[in-house]
Symmetry: C2
Subunit: 322 residues, 2 copies
């Protein structure tokens, strides 16, 4: 059996979920693929935290170059989050001939050209399925089996925190501030929720979706953007009276004058497939000129769903190494 060694940058929540996904399904993956995957080295300062996975102290390093210089490691998974040092680490790994997998939407969105160009120049794979929609396999679909389509439109509910808040406001009649506090208490929203509630996270994901559907890179800062902080109970009631639901939507569409794109609250008729996507679930709706309407629905975050997407990318690359 072909052994494939992996270096992991970051063992936080998502890193732990990724490690756990491999740990629990290692033998099944081996039986299916003939590949023995192992995360052999981990860049992480916190070596003491209780994580419910089997790691030994020898796997940890606090020096990323130990991973980049390891000739036995062929794939590097980047799960540090944030633009830097994540981007520099990914570029360095590629220059050293390592294939790279990441879940980091901020880094991919900000540095899409640099990262994809570097991958091409160094003839390595660069995959980032988990960066949009968590476990939902949307990016792979857009870049493989749907490639015979001219894409007309993409609409996404791609942030679980804001969808949870809007669902509670709509279904339970509670105002924004109250739901946000509840979500923070339950760990569904961060102490500083700005990136979620102002649509910054959604804009990162729209940048990636647009690059793959329309071949059109737009920096997330250049996407017209509105969050959900100004949505009142009156807005929700008025939408309801019109038979609509308010969702925070990433949208891009082909028009006669080019690609239109924006992030913001949108009223969807209750019959629209995205209107029934509630709580922390995500969904991406795509229209192609051959396939017509498609929707992909699932868990847009969480350690194991994200780990599923990361390990799916790793496995796809590893199959090419056989």
């Amino acid at each position: 059996m072909k052994k494939v060694n992996i270096g992991l940058l970051g063992l936080g929540n998502i890193g732990t979920g990724t490690y756990k996904t491999l740990e629990m399904n290692h033998d099944l993956i081996a039986a299916r693929s003939g590949l023995d995957l192992a995360i052999t080295k981990i860049l992480e300062i916190d070596t003491e935290r209780e994580r419910d996975i089997t790691v030994v102290p020898e796997q940890f390093t606090q020096d990323a170059s130990v991973i980049f210089e390891d000739p036995d490691i062929s794939i590097v998974i980047e799960l540090l989050g944030g633009i830097e040092p994540a981007t520099s680490f990914m570029l360095e790994a590629m220059r050293r001939g390592k294939h790279v997998v990441t879940a980091n939407k901020a880094a991919v969105a900000a540095n899409y050209d640099a990262l994809t160009t570097c991958a091409k120049e160094n003839k390595v794979f660069f995959r980032y399925e988990a960066s949009v929609g968590g476990g939902i396999p949307i990016l792979n679909a857009l870049t493989s089996v749907l490639q015979a389509n001219d894409f007309m439109e993409v609409l996404g509910i791609v942030n679980g925190t804001t969808n949870y808040i809007l669902t509670k406001m709509t279904d339970e009649g509670l105002p924004y501030g109250e739901v946000l506090k509840d979500a923070q208490a339950k760990g569904f929203a961060e102490a500083d929720p700005t990136a979620d509630v102002e649509g910054i996270d959604v804009a990162n994901k729209l940048t990636i979706l647009m690059a793959l559907t329309f071949g059109n890179y737009v920096h997330p800062n250049d996407i017209p953007r509105e969050g959900i902080t100004k949505i009142t109970m009156d807005d929700i009631a008025a939408a309801k009276a019109r038979g609509n639901k308010i969702k925070l939507i990433a949208r891009a569409a082909k028009t006669e004058s080019g690609i239109e794109y924006s992030v913001g609250p949108m009223e969807l008729p209750e019959s629209h497939p995205l209107a029934g996507v509630n709580d922390e679930f995500n969904a991406i709706f795509v229209k192609g000129n051959a396939v017509d309407d498609l929707m992909f629905y699932g868990k847009g975050a969480g350690p194991l769903p994200t780990g599923s997407a990361v390990m799916g990318d790793v496995l796809s690359i590893a199959k090419h190494l056989k």
Copy 2:
């Protein structure tokens, strides 16, 4: 630009939709992939029918061996439907070193082992994305990016005709017989609707889904099966009173005593993602031990959506030929 020649078996509705998908998106596909795809030969008796595509008489043949023996053809698309001669043609094409793409669920379900074994022995690709869920890219997801999951359950609404009938019965309060006649008049149901309404078509698709999720081949004739012909307005009203909807479901699940599977009407709570899948739409719900709940939704039939899936498979193979 690398030229890839394709032989097409059958230019009926799906064949024409596939040809049309390539015709309208040829240049876009070439720009994206660097591949110049061309359907150079077509096995079809009816050369006169009006099809709204550009074919010249020289492309037609009535002898399949002309396609199998053409050294310039590397991919054969089988869209004849039915088990034979489709299966024999696919096996012969593979033995001649051609990669094979099909939308034929009856042939794939009946001869899954023979077809996949023959592909392996002859080191050719065999792909059949369009055989389940039409344009919905579910099979590719199951066999690539979701491969790091242990699958727990798969539930599908995979027949548009019966979903259309059940939707009209539920939403418009019309009895089965009346809706069936209306569907036949509109061309949504065939003159002999047996394969659809008795769940035979759905069983074929469940055979394929089970082979890919659980690695467990069961012949469609061995799947416990019930159609929708006995569903009364009372059944639908009783389900509604319980807050449920009746859908024709292909289901397979992992249990302590092995894989359970069946095709039949099922009551789903209105909150279940599949309950909102109406009219001729299809959807497949999958649960994995890492990714958790996922749903894929779209057009399960029709010339262009099916053409999207067929050409997606062709393109994936063609990329390997570069």
